[in-house]
Symmetry: C2
Subunit: 353 residues, 2 copies
């Protein structure tokens, strides 16, 4: 059952227990199909969400687990070396992955330790590549040559800088960014509605045929930040494509901060910074996905969304961080809860710059 | 002119320029008195606030300066040694201040470096002081003995822990906390009103006879977090005392995060963590100070309050951080501004735990 294997990639004991119980249920009813590519449907999510009265509202451990899921492998940082351009560190490359780059003499300069041990000290872009265009083209060719080494090519270019707003050294295929430890930026938006003093979040369920995290829960609008577009313009564009929100409404999306994480898995070193937005929507607004990336939407009371985050792994991992940030900013997480400041700080793990 | 000297304590070039121009103006009109203990009045603040059209909205440097004002002396950390209780570091004490503690053999254990240099390695509370009560009493006596060494005694006890929510080792006079580098916690609240989609902040002007920062601008409600009271109860109490806000309204105050800073000046090592609250007030609400600590209040459009922060030093220094945090969370600071992520991170400088 490929769908369950995909979801189990980042399985915790709680998640496994859920999957096991679903498997049993499927085998009991014999012909029942999985509810979606992620192994759960809205009915499952809403049941967990509304199951109140457990008295665990002040227990932040479920949130901490979600932050941890986005920040794996910190003990493996030593397996990577710095990747620099014009003497500025722009990323990190796994020592094993460097073996695949050795043949590209005119693109990368691989500097060895000067103690004669043949250990790689760092990698830099070849000094003959002087313009952003030359660099973008040269690295693009390398990525093409590597073929299946870097799966999921999207033909979407990300700017490479030392930190946000600084000069762009070159641009890089989005799917390749983690292999070079390049920082990637995104815009994520929580769309919410207020009725009688209660807040509700619009939650999306990703299409079952989406390449990444099919069938999982998501917030209303999110997207990577490609080269040459401002955060504000990007959020307006994504609002239209992902949720059919007209510019007259989406222009009210308010920037509210940022979250970040750092995740190592195999050769991949993810260093992501997500700019967070809130958009208060009219009570009668109904989202309408226009690019086929979302299967369906539901409007969920904020405390119910919080329960789904704490009790399941139904959300796409990094969305958890953005919604936890929303919970902090809107008073749903209480400073008198044990771990409040630790959780708050953990939302900006890694290099938030 | 004592009032100006007080305000000039943390003077920047911009501040000095302002003071100079005011001095000139006073001398020109000869008999004009200073408008308040801080050397400015509401008219001055409102003039700076509303002076738009400078096109400097995306310039974050004024905010950065305010963060810096709260985080001085980081190069002097080496002048302090750890202060521990039960093997847990709870603070830092200046090597010079230790000289005043040497005579209290039964309260402090001063451990020297074991290289025979007579250098103090660290200070711990004497092991014979086993209960929080014994420790509180013993240190209280020391502080009394030190007299004018520690000015501004308030007879307000702060809990001493390694981090928020952890066991309380003892309690300490509020004014003495920085001399022992003890972390101090507070609750700070921005009270705002929304009219026709525009937000306004209620800003207070501190009483001219207040012991600390007389005559300076402040947000609506703030207070230290004393021993034995939750954040929520404290904010409700301060709402009533400082702004006459009834519990039926203040109970809606939403916790929205925290800011922190670390400031070294002479023997004082301030390590403060402020829990931030937002309270949306009814449009017709008018605050009413009940404890004599506030001179007057004004309702100011948020962008005008932002201008006062960026362009003057009229606000009590740590209030700037809490209002800058408000500006971030409510979309008044734009991610496309140079320095956005750096400023955001700087709001939690020091040890936010």
């Amino acid at each position: 059952m490929a769908t369950i294997t995909a979801a189990a990639r980042w399985s915790s004991p709680a998640r496994l227990q859920f999957l096991t119980s679903r498997r049993l249920r499927f085998s009991a009813s014999s012909a029942a199909p999985p509810t979606s590519a992620a192994g759960f449907g809205w009915a499952d999510a809403l049941r967990v969400a509304g199951d109140g009265g457990r008295g665990d509202e002040s227990d932040l451990s479920g949130y901490f687990r979600k932050v941890k899921t986005c920040n794996r492998g910190m003990d493996k940082k030593g397996q990577f070396v710095e990747f620099s351009v014009e003497d500025q560190v722009v990323g990190y490359i796994h020592k094993g992955f460097i073996e695949y780059l050795r043949d590209f003499h005119d693109v990368f300069t691989i500097v060895l330790d000067n103690n004669g041990s043949n250990t790689v000290e760092h990698v830099s872009l070849h000094s003959s590549l002087r313009t952003p265009e030359d660099r973008t083209h040269a690295i693009g060719s390398v990525i093409k040559s590597l073929g299946e080494m870097i799966p999921g090519i999207r033909n979407e270019l990300y700017p490479v800088t030392s930190s946000y707003g600084m000069p762009v050294y070159f641009s890089l295929e989005r799917a390749a960014a983690p292999y070079f430890g390049i920082k990637a930026y995104g815009v994520h938006m929580n769309g919410y509605v207020e009725k009688n003093g209660q807040k509700f979040l619009w939650i999306g369920k990703r299409s079952d045929v989406k390449q990444t995290y099919p069938g999982m829960l998501d917030h209303l609008v999110a997207g990577g930040l490609p080269y040459g577009i401002s955060c504000k313009e990007n959020i307006i564009k994504e609002c239209e494509e992902e949720a059919g929100i007209a510019r007259s409404i989406s222009t009210n999306a308010a920037s509210v901060g940022a979250v970040s994480y750092m995740d190592i898995e195999g050769f991949r070193y993810k260093r992501d910074v997500l700019f967070c937005y809130d958009l208060k929507l009219p009570a009668d607004f109904v989202p309408n996905n226009e690019d086929g990336e979302v299967d369906s939407f539901r409007l969920i009371p904020v405390p119910h969304a919080a329960n789904i985050i704490r009790r399941t792994e139904f959300f796409k991992p990094n969305c958890n961080l953005v919604i936890i940030d929303f919970l902090f900013r809107h008073g749903y997480i209480n400073p008198d809860c044990r771990g409040y400041l630790g959780l708050l700080q953990s939302l900006r793990s890694g290099d938030c710059s």
